[in-house]
């Protein structure tokens, strides 16, 4: 018995007969007999009906706690997802299609990727984008790889990058003779310009900064990258794509490569995945971009056509000399991002950003009024900020849970990183503050 097999037992027997075989196991004559026997002995459950499966997974979902209000970000952001996004991203031809190597059958998918690439260029102000990589952390690692030169193998990472991004970059290059140094944050919460100036020398190939950084602070990116450029290093900015609607575009602050986690663009939290790693770069770095890229051309009759292009960079052509080993990416997530950006449009995306910004500032001001509470940094922030309070983050979150609220992300040093998006109302925030006032 096997779900999803259209052929019947009788049909399979007839097919075997036509091939002169008694059993499909006869095709496995190259497999040693004891291996076949071992596989038969394996302890695995019997199959389930669709109804039983549904019951089982609904049961698992029910064991998770879903919160009515979410004030936690720190790398995963709870934005409203317009109904159109789910509708379009679940259409079967998009869901079940392969990587569009056969262009004639795949113009639709190719066009969605071409539109996505264009929108990533528009957000960043840069010239070229790829079709996506796995997530924001691996996008940062791929950007480092693009910066490496034979003589310059030292990369500087701001401590304001997400810790998981830093860890991912470190593991990626641990055996490739690459030195990774962290640029500390100043008291303001910004990446220290002085520290960067001291670290820069002729061995540094790239400087990576997050905008805003993991503590919510808006970085002096232009100043940091001016220093990097002077030292001959490439500038990489890891951006929040929602913030990008209102903060200076990557191209305006002198970056060579912009990367980021695309999850805020229409992807639910989903326990951290799948999300989307986006990448864009200046024209001169085009051939160093990893992964698939869609380009526009024509067919013999002059009709506009889209194809996967610049494949000479990729593993299936270049093998061990490829820019990266990536082939599968996050195409359906890129489609989601494309639909999200199209539905929101420039005005809608700015509204998401403005609402998140304004609500975060409203909540920050209200929390700072609580007795003994303070904001840790003076610097400008986007939609996340850090508080210090007389009670521990764990205690705060334990109380908020009782009210169906997921509180901020508790830092190891006792601080708390709060995040507001357009999904919380003023009423919600007032309620939050009142609860915390009573905790004391």
């Amino acid at each position: 018995m096997c779900a999803y097999l259209p052929s019947t037992e009788a049909e399979r027997r007839a097919m075997l007969e036509a091939l002169g075989k008694e059993s499909a196991l006869d095709f496995f004559s190259s497999v040693p007999a004891e291996q076949l026997a071992a596989a038969e002995r394996v302890d695995l459950p019997e199959g389930m009906s669709e109804l039983e499966l549904s019951r089982k997974l609904n049961g698992l979902a029910a064991k998770n706690r879903q919160f009515a209000k979410i004030y936690r970000g720190y790398g995963a952001y709870n934005h409203y997802i317009p109904a159109m996004v789910d509708e379009i991203a679940t259409r079967q031809a998009f869901v079940t299609t392969y990587t569009p190597y056969q262009a004639e059958l795949s113009q639709g998918v190719l066009q969605t990727i071409f539109e996505y690439q264009t929108m990533i260029c528009q957000l960043t102000g840069l010239d070229v984008s790829n079709a996506s990589v796995y997530d924001g952390a691996t996008a940062a690692a791929e950007a480092v790889n693009m910066c490496l030169e034979r003589r310059r193998r030292h990369v500087l990472l701001s401590e304001g990058l997400h810790p998981q991004t830093i860890e991912t970059v470190k593991s990626r290059f641990q055996y490739l003779n690459v030195e990774v140094t962290l640029i500390p944050l100043a008291e303001s919460g910004e990446t220290s310009v002085e520290a960067l100036a001291e670290l820069l020398d002729e061995t540094v190939c790239g400087v990576l900064v997050a905008q805003p950084n993991v503590l919510g602070i808006i970085e002096p990116a232009a100043e940091l990258f001016a220093l990097a450029k002077k030292a001959g290093a490439k500038s990489v900015l890891s951006i929040n794509p929602i913030a990008a609607a209102i903060l200076p575009a990557a191209a305006e602050v002198g970056v060579d490569i912009a990367v980021g986690e695309g999850q805020p663009l229409g992807m639910p939290l989903s326990f951290g995945g799948p999300g989307l790693g986006f990448m864009a770069a200046r024209q001169d770095m085009m051939r160093r971009l990893p992964g698939r890229i869609v380009g526009q051309t024509t067919d013999a009759e002059g009709r506009r056509a889209f194809v996967l292009t610049l494949q000479a960079r990729e593993q299936h052509i270049r093998r061990e000399r490829a820019m990266s080993n990536i082939c599968s990416n996050q195409a359906l997530c890129a489609l989601r991002a494309g639909v999200y950006l199209t539905v929101m449009g420039p005005q809608g995306l700015r509204e998401v950003a403005e609402l998140s910004l304004s609500k975060a500032h409203y909540l920050a001001a209200r929390l700072a009024e609580l007795p003994g509470w303070s904001l840790r940094f003076d610097g400008e922030f986007f939609h996340e900020f850090v508080t210090d309070a007389p009670i521990s983050g764990e205690k705060i979150n334990a109380v908020l849970r009782e009210h169906d609220i997921l509180g901020g992300y508790p830092l190891a040093d006792g601080g708390m990183v709060w995040c507001c998006t357009e999904t919380v109302t003023r009423e919600d925030m007032d309620e939050l503050v009142n609860i915390l006032r009573e905790v004391g």
Binding site: L5, A24, F94, A103, L269, S270, G295, T297
Partner: protein, 485 residues
Amino acid sequence: MQLSFEKSVAGRRTYVLPAPDVPKYELPAEMRRTLELPLPEMGEPDINRHYSALERRSFGVNDGPYPLGSCTMKYNPIINDQLASLPGFTQIHPLQEIDTVQGCLQALVEAEKFLAAVTGMDRMTFQPAAGAHGEFTALLMVKAYHEDRGDSERTQIIVPDSAHGTNPASAAMAGFETVNIPSNEAGGVDLDGLKKVLGPKTAGLMLTNPNTLGIFDPNIEEITALVHEAGGLNYYDGANLNAVMGVARPGDMGFDLVHLNLHKTFSTPHGGGGPGSGPVGCKAFLAEFLPHDMPIARKGEDGEYVYDLEVPEKTIGRVRSFYGNFLVTLKAYAYALRLGKAGIRAAALTAVLNANYMAEGLRDYYDISVPGPYMHEFVLTIEPLRQEYGITAMDIAKAIQEKGIHPPTMYFPLNVKEALMVEPTETESRETLDMMIEALREIRSRVDSDPESLRQAPRTTVIGRPDETTAARNPILRYTEPEAE
């Protein structure tokens, strides 16, 4: 067809969000974007039609058969997508307190147990987002293992010439040098060739078994034993596991590490290129090198399991954020549960039966690279037709499109000239297999009678063959507004 940007009209929009209910916060002028943001401006009805048109210009497994070799384009069950969309999974923040994500962790722990049993491994991580990512993760573990033993001279990874391009690319990323070995005439590993390159520098072997010619290597136990004797580890590229799942296990073949492609073998949809999932399994002696975080189960005092996260002692580090493409893992687990032990085995046996049935139906019409029996796929070589009639694998592939069939994989593996790699999968019915055979026979008849029709194919699709040379020479990678006249 027009791009969304060409349909854009200034001021058009869809109103999604409410008016602000808090005072507007103004950032200082130097922190504000001055660059234009030229995203498309469209109303919802037109956006909906735009994507409907794009959907019609796409071709998924749901639109027709997809015998794409080595890609295992099997049917993607609807229930899996639906269950992975439950808000109890999608609305969960990855950094929630551990006691509020017990369902997610339980799913990961149970999926690990299931797939480890299928592959004959002891532990498995779902961090890697795709097969290539899994290869890289596993090779970091190979490196860490040798380094941990002070065996730092092991710098070489052995890869057969029939391997996927990702194998050597991943090896390079983990700091290894790739040593290519030729295949023997039957498409298997050439034992003498292997012995020649094995030695104190051998870190490991990467092998796809059954290989890309659809052959289960009859010497598999000898191969893995030779690598072990030389001090190397055996890595199983799971791209072709669909042929043998439930029938034979990489762990019993002598492999120490394995990666799976959940988007191939375990039915999760390809989505136009992703998201996939490339979990890595390993034998117990390598578990301390796994990436973090690893979900684990502990029995509580009341006898119920409690789930937690753990960082392995000598971890290679983190290979991406959070816990991998979690929803994809969930879909694969749903598939595994639905099939169960008997269903998984039946799927493999039927995939192999279908491939052999198709190969038999084509044997008198085309040259097949190696004699059978085949596993889940076989490779046609169009080289004789190219020599005699100038018809290429590309021509055949494009002609197949006119029949409502997605073409087989072209020009791979590299050790077969003018290759067309056919993998029907178990989810095609006998009528569909017959239809594909008939289509390929009809195309073969035109090789002599009407070759021009093949060179001009496809003639029924929305575009004809695109000019790829110009695309690469003069890359247009985004839309730019035409200059005003």
